[in-house]
Amino acid sequence: MSVATGTRRTRALRRAWVAVVVVALAIVAVGLESLVPGPTLRWAPFAGVGTGEASSGPLSVVVHGATVADAVVVDGERRETTGAFVVLDVTIASSEELDLIDRDLVVDGRVYESSTKGPSLYQESHPAPGLPVRGDLVFEVDAALLAGGTSVELHLAPGFDAAGDLQPQVVVRTDVAGDAQDVVEIAVLSR
């Protein structure tokens, strides 16, 4: 083997190692990026997930029951939907003062914000240390997704992250029956 051939082979080997190191670093970077939690998760690195109840950081959430209804009554006023109302009876507790708790219901991959046909946010109390709140969360859902009963997820977060997305602090799974009641009277979240 000539000196020139040996030098070329050494260079090629060095380039190959550089490529391997670059690819390995890129994989590590992507992996780390996917693991880093968003700003919303400042109290806990990962969402607390549970069935019926869950907690993470200062938040604890219990879902006592889920009801499907064709209509709801809020402040004596009957409100209708072309879909179905999912009413969750919940208790929310927090070890810190929270100004706002965002809530979503995820059904078969679809994300439902709480319905404005439920109680207004200003009517609701927020939990304080030692003072949990209990009441109903109201969601308006595509009725076809509930046919025969299904499992849903309640996502709660203290706020939105820097990208404007709701990153759940607590995820509570619960089962919802397929049969709908005619009407349900809503209890406003209160201490």
Partner: protein, 167 residues
Amino acid sequence: MTARVRTGIVTVGAAAALAVALVATGALGEREDARARPLAIGEQLETSRADIVVEGFERTGAGELVVTLTVTNALPVGLQIDDLLSIVDDDGELARFGQVSAGDVSAFVAHPGVADTFTIVYEPDRPAADDVRIVLVDATWTPRDETAFGLGANMYDEHAVAIVALP
């Protein structure tokens, strides 16, 4: 082959590549806004985000413009009603945001798969000029907000798809 011939070949090749790029990217095509079609009151419009029926469009004595529309959201997330339309006249945009309600309650969002009828009351900042109309828009939705600091709305490539004239 002389230098002049080579220069000519390169120039023609570059021009051809530019033309191909313009055609392939649609840069020479019709503007999206030009595809907006007239839509009648009560006629259904299907967009990538929602099925929309404008049920009513009227002007009140106080100068307010009232739009009633039924929306069936096709996205897997809530769809802001204000994102679906704006009011324009011959002087340009007349109103973009109004007071949105469904029944007797404020409602800003169409929920996935749930048809609902919304009423929007616009109070324009200026008197309306001629040819007042609703411009219904569509946009490409992405699961994540790609803009900085969450100022976007997970939508891009917004374009007009239909126009409803004030009766």
